[in-house]
């Protein structure tokens, strides 16, 4: 079975989601046909067994049966049974297997689609919801495409075969009377199924809401205890538990009723056959063997009929799920390559922003207003501003996570809308505000831009990011698994690993979005030093990077060639550090708040020992680069 075939066909947009399954079935028609034949053969064989027993009974009753003949009957039953079991098994694993392959392809297609969508899509769709809905929809499709199809084929073919045997070979009156109550089974299942499912969801959500409370209370146990609030919390917990019991009892009422109706119906069927069939037997309308066979048919049909009912539910749910999945697969990404993008353009590193005004799609307020600045290749620009002033938005636009308006952002003189996404992003290395890491090895994280990360290169990047010493202290060094979202690293270590990841990429443009907030002052200084002098980083390139540093801590940007102060999306001040601290604006006020009134600072390690001191600001004002004694810890 080739599992990768036909994938592309899934992508084609069609109005109804049924297309996803039907086109898959059509493309694999011969497989499905084979399975269908196998199952039909199996049903045909299955209904032979009660018939055989009927004949055996008749011969027995008439005293015409010999002992060897009985043995012969037994052999035939075994043989038929063996074949009916094997054929149905084959038929069903073929169908079920293919259902699972379809689902495999869907999962693959979904990730492929999701990879093309920009943050604005994820803004409106929380990852949790997206994932849980998509996955539960996929799960429903799996049920439909495997169990649903195979059970309905099996159920229908068993029903037809048995009905044919009973009505044609025996007595159609009795067949109808006996099967009557059983025919109600799929209807009942179809009726109760959704109700039970619905109630079960209520139950689950009651359970979830209790779990959430427990999580909050355990997470905040210090606060609960500090306020002596245990009694109040216990009371809230009891309410949640009460709700669970309430929902469960409602659920049980339904499911128990349903659960006891099924055996009841088949008992009714048996009673009909017993009385009416008994009457017919005495009348000699049917033989005793027929009478016995009827009971066996009823027993044989019960399970396929129940499954047929389940299929009804699955079909109902699958309709919705398939539509949603096909909707997901046909989302049109909003950030794509321009048709006449300059395919061969490679980023060199000159950034120019011209009269940039931007608002997020679907919002009213301009987040950036009339921003202009230029950074020449190899220069550093610092951007500071309060929370929400638009700093991250600027980087989002530079990276084209959102499309900037036409003619506002240029790299090397080319409008970035005309640069292929791949080339643009190849040219920019970035550290996100969140310092997002993957739950892989440290090496894989640092070398994320590489298919097979190079240890030596990663080590150098880690050294420049001042995180090397931390990494080698871990028992597994660079091979340490960092756990989900890097939980095994401290906030500052995470940020520095993310910086190492940026350095590893070795792109002409560096963007650091508030990536030093959890790094202590001393390390920050060493790190900034390394960034400025990245000629000391032997990452097979001696070129200086164009650097954009965003921070709410001024110490991170003071060495920049130019500093922009953003306030409410506009540039309120700009200039060098020394220029700005004397201008008496927001920057100088922040500077006073953040550094105290002191101008001289010494660095003390967390253990309180003075390690080395930084030259005071007067030296800085002369534009002298910061010098560091020795290697940073």
């Amino acid at each position: 079975m080739s599992i990768n075939q036909n994938e592309n066909n899934l992508e084609k947009k069609k109005p109804s989601g049924w297309h996803i399954v039907s086109s898959y079935v059509v493309q694999n028609w011969w497989v499905y046909l084979a399975a269908l034949l196998l199952i039909m053969v199996s049903s045909k064989l299955a209904v032979k067994i009660p018939q055989l027993i009927g004949r055996f009974t008749d011969q027995l009753q008439h005293g015409t049966l010999e002992v060897q003949q009985a043995a012969h009957f037994a052999e035939t039953i075994m043989l038929i049974s063996f074949f009916r079991v094997t054929t149905v098994w084959l038929g069903r694993i073929i169908i079920n297997g293919h259902g699972r392959i379809l689902v495999y392809q869907l999962r693959k297609q979904l990730l492929k689609k999701w990879s093309t969508l920009s943050p604005s899509y994820y803004q409106g769709h929380s990852v949790g919801d997206l994932l849980s809905h998509a996955l539960s929809d996929v799960e429903v499709v799996r049920q439909f495409a495997s169990m649903g199809i195979s059970q309905s084929i099996n159920g229908l073919s068993m029903l037809t075969a048995a009905l044919y045997m009973m009505a044609v070979h025996m007595n159609w009156h009795l067949a109808l009377a006996g099967l009557g109550p059983l025919i109600a089974i799929p209807i009942l299942v179809g009726y109760f199924g959704p109700k039970i499912k619905n109630q079960s969801m209520h139950y689950q959500s009651a359970l979830g809401s209790m779990a959430q409370l427990v999580e909050e209370v355990i997470g905040g146990i210090r606060v609960v205890k500090a306020f002596g609030n245990e009694a109040v919390t216990l009371h809230r917990f009891e309410e949640k538990v009460e709700k669970i019991v309430h929902e469960k009892v409602k659920f049980v009422r339904l499911s128990s009723l349903f659960g006891s109706l099924l055996p009841f119906l088949s008992s009714i069927g048996s009673i009909v056959v017993l009385s009416y069939g008994g009457y017919l037997t005495i009348n000699h309308t049917i033989t005793l063997g027929d009478f016995a066979a009827f009971f066996l048919y009823l027993a044989q049909l019960r399970q396929p009929l129940e499954q047929l009912g389940q299929t009804l539910n699955v079909v109902q749910r699958a309709a919705g799920s398939l539509n949603r999945i096909s909707g997901l697969l046909s989302v049109v990404p909003d950030v794509v390559d321009d048709p006449d993008a300059k395919k061969e353009h490679r980023v060199i590193g000159n950034i120019k922003v011209k009269n940039l005004t931007f608002r997020y799609p679907g919002t009213e307020k301009n987040v950036l207003e009339n921003i202009s600045f230029e950074v020449e290749k190899g220069k550093t620009i610092g951007i500071v501003g309060a929370l929400g002033s638009g700093k991250s938005t600027l980087t989002n636009l530079l990276l084209r996570l959102y499309n900037p308006p036409k003619g506002t952002i240029f790299i090397d003189g080319v409008d970035i809308l005309k640069i292929p996404l791949e080339n643009l992003r190849h040219g920019i290395a970035y550290v996100p505000q969140s310092g997002f890491l993957f739950s892989e090895k440290i090496l894989d994280n640092i070398g994320f831009s590489d298919n097979s990360p190079d240890l030596e290169k990663a080590e150098k990047a880690a050294q420049s990011a001042v995180v090397y010493d931390n990494i080698v202290e871990f028992p597994d060094g660079f091979n340490t698994e960092i756990g989900e979202r890097g939980v095994r690293l401290s906030g500052g270590q995470k940020q520095r690993v993310a910086i190492a990841r940026m350095l590893y990429k070795n792109a002409p443009i560096h963007i650091l979005d508030d990536s030093l907030s959890a790094v202590d002052t001393k390390t920050e200084r060493a790190l900034l030093h390394n960034l400025r002098h990245n000629s000391s980083v032997k990452l097979n390139s001696l070129r200086r990077k164009t650097t954009l540093i965003i921070s709410h801590r001024l110490s991170a940007v003071r060495h920049a060639d130019e500093i922009l102060v953003l306030a409410d999306g506009t540039v309120s001040e700009r200039g060098t550090h020394s220029h700005l601290i004397h201008s008496g604006g927001l920057y100088s006020r922040l500077w006073i708040m953040q550094s105290g009134t002191e101008e001289e600072q010494k660095v003390v390690g967390v253990d309180g020992n003075v390690r080395y001191s930084e030259p005071d600001l007067s030296e800085e004002r002369n534009g002298l680069p910061l010098s560091l004694e020795g290697e940073p810890a």
């Binding site: 027995l60 075994m78 427990v214 355990i218 017993l274 037997t281 708040m593 253990d607």
Partner: protein
């Protein structure tokens, strides 16, 4: 089952004992309903042998029996329904009690317990382990009770029909059980593997979706898709295998059932020919033969549930055996607190032998404002933990208003000591409920006053529904400054005599900090104020400052005094630590 495992299930006993009447009733119902169900083949046999296969068939007899049986079936229908509801309800009542007891118990444990056990584990205990007990009632008990009685009844009816044939039939039992157990074990293994692979695939997806921007910025879409494909393929393989095994199991039992029938045809047929049994008996045997499988099937299926119940109940039992380290004395008092605090030669260790506080001596008068500074890990927070009696001192005495803190009731300590911590914990619920901590008896007007006091009123009123705005995702939509103000207001609602601020402003940007700074000044009147801070501007305002280092008080005095002293404080002051307060 080992001794240890059994003792886990014992926790259910006292609860079951409470409901013993119902349990007995349920058992009785099950027996009656199963009897009616399993009598059916026997009745058919009677009809065949006594009313059909006789020289003078008797149609009226057939109808009579049928009608009688119909009545029984109706009765059994009602009984089964009622019994099931009763069982589930009893199970739920027990689970509810266990849950509440467990939660109450855990909540009363000391912080030491929470230090030693991950929150994930505790949550699993309260949520999933108790849910496993629930499954024990809904799945295991229902199916096994019914299954066992059905089996017993089938055996009973078979023996009653004909002992020799019955004994032959029982030869099938080891075969069925063996096949069942072998395939089930395989299924279980594959199932486990499948679940692991599924969660690997899902967590990969989850992570990549939340980091999609990073993936795109680094141009790694294809690499990540390939990686996902590997997991996806592994998952595919195990789902296919799981399905094949499950179907195999189902069909093997079908085949064995047919084989049993074939055996009956062969041997039983001979017996009928020889006249040692009647045809009706043979027919009833064929039906019983087929019915034999279902209960066995159902019971083996429940073994997993039993296993997980044992594991879960053992975990619950262990939790119940934990005892809080911090206990109230029977003679504990709850006087109104004035706010004098005294540490007398206090020593404290989280783990024996590693003292984090050593010979602390400190007197704080009511209404005094004291700053605490020191490097990360110096023991500042630990000092405050003692004052809130989260932990008990290992040596020395900690006094409030001249009385050992152990003489107070926990309620009175925690009512008079308020702490604002660096990381704010908010709960799902409205702003109002968060500030009054879900105590409905505290009127809204009180809450508003507290918010005015700390300067939170303004931003709260600007929220869509003001004080009644429901915080989404535990307030993650608020800025950290706003969250901090809420937690500050929450402490003020309870009007503590001793107010502790533990780096409450450290994670804020300069502007939010200024707002909070103002609030601190406003609320400090009439309270003993203990402030841990890194910012000079905060500490400077205090009456005096205590400098901690490696668990000892190394200096104390006013800002000016300490600067003149040229000691540790002076060094801290010159360093980045006092200014920035951001540490890794």
């Amino acid at each position: 089952m080992t001794q240890k495992a059994k003792s886990g299930l014992l926790i259910l006993l006292p609860y079951l004992a409470k409901y013993r009447l119902r349990v007995v009733l349920i058992f009785a119902f099950v027996i009656i309903a199963s009897s009616i169900d399993q009598a059916q083949p026997y009745i058919i046999k009677n009809i065949i042998d006594n009313h059909i296969s006789v020289p003078h068939p008797d149609i009226r007899g057939i109808f009579r029996i049928s009608m009688g049986y119909l009545g029984l079936v109706l009765f059994s229908f009602g009984l089964t329904y009622y019994q099931d509801v009763l069982l589930q309800f009893t199970g739920q009542s027990i689970v509810r009690e266990i849950r509440t007891d467990l939660f109450r118990h855990i909540q009363n444990l000391s912080l030491k317990y929470f230090d030693q056990n991950s929150s994930g584990r505790i949550i699993t205990n309260v949520v999933s382990d108790t849910e496993a007990l629930n499954n024990f009632f809904t799945d295991f008990l229902t199916n096994t009770i019914r299954g066992i009685f059905s089996l017993v009844l089938i055996v009973f009816f078979m023996l009653k029909l004909n002992q020799t044939v019955a004994l032959y039939c029982f030869l099938m039992v080891p075969l069925i059980l063996g096949a069942s157990l072998i395939i089930r074990r395989g299924i279980q293994k594959v199932n486990q593997e499948m679940r692991t692979r599924l969660s690997a695939a899902i967590s990969f997806l989850a992570e990549n979706l939340s980091g999609m921007a990073i993936v795109q910025i680094f141009n790694q879409e294809l690499k990540q898709q390939k990686e996902f494909d590997q997991r996806n393929k592994l998952l595919l393989q195990s789902t296919i295998l799981e399905n094949r095994l499950n179907l195999l199991f189902f069909l093997v039992t079908e085949f064995l059932g047919d084989a049993g029938v074939a055996g009956l045809v062969w041997f039983g047929g001979g017996a009928v020919i020889r006249g040692s049994i009647s045809f009706g008996v043979l027919f009833a045997f064929t039906v019983y033969m087929r019915r034999f499988f279902q209960p066995i099937n159902n019971i083996t299926q429940q073994l997993n549930v039993l296993q997980s119940t044992i594991v879960s109940s053992e975990r619950i039992r262990k939790t119940f055996k934990e005892h809080p380290d911090i206990r109230e004395l029977p003679s504990a008092v709850s006087p109104s607190v004035i706010g004098r605090v005294a540490f007398k030669n206090v020593t404290f260790a989280y783990r024996a032998g590693q003292n984090v506080l050593k010979n602390i001596n400190l007197e704080i008068k009511p209404g005094e404002r004291v700053g605490f500074v020191g490097a990360t890990g110096a023991g500042k927070t630990s000092l405050m933990n003692l004052l809130a009696r989260f932990y008990d001192v290992n040596g020395g005495v900690l006094e409030i208003d001249g009385q050992d803190i152990k003489n107070y009731s926990l309620e009175s300590i925690r009512g008079s000591v308020g702490i604002v911590q660096q990381d704010v914990t908010l709960f799902s619920g409205s702003v109002l409920d968060n500030i009054r901590f879900f105590r409905k008896e505290i009127p809204e007007i009180h809450v508003v006053e507290a918010c005015r006091l700390v300067g939170a009123d303004g931003f709260i009123r600007r929220l869509p529904q003001g004080y009644h705005t429901v915080l989404s995702e535990r307030g993650s939509t608020l800025s950290s400054g706003e969250r901090q103000l809420l937690s500050f207001a929450r402490v003020m609602v309870f009007d503590p005599k001793i107010l502790i601020l533990d780096e409450a402003t450290a994670s804020l940007d300069s502007i939010s900090e200024a707002v909070l700074q103002e609030a601190i000044t406003k609320v400090s009147y009439g309270r003993t104020l203990l402030v841990i801070a890194h910012r000079l501007s905060t500490v400077q305002q205090m009456d005096y400052i205590v400098v901690l280092d490696h668990g000892r008080i190394v200096e104390s005095g006013s800002h000016e005094e300490l600067l003149r002293h040229d000691g540790f404080y002076q060094r801290l002051h010159e360093s980045g630590i006092l200014l920035e307060g951001v540490a890794v």
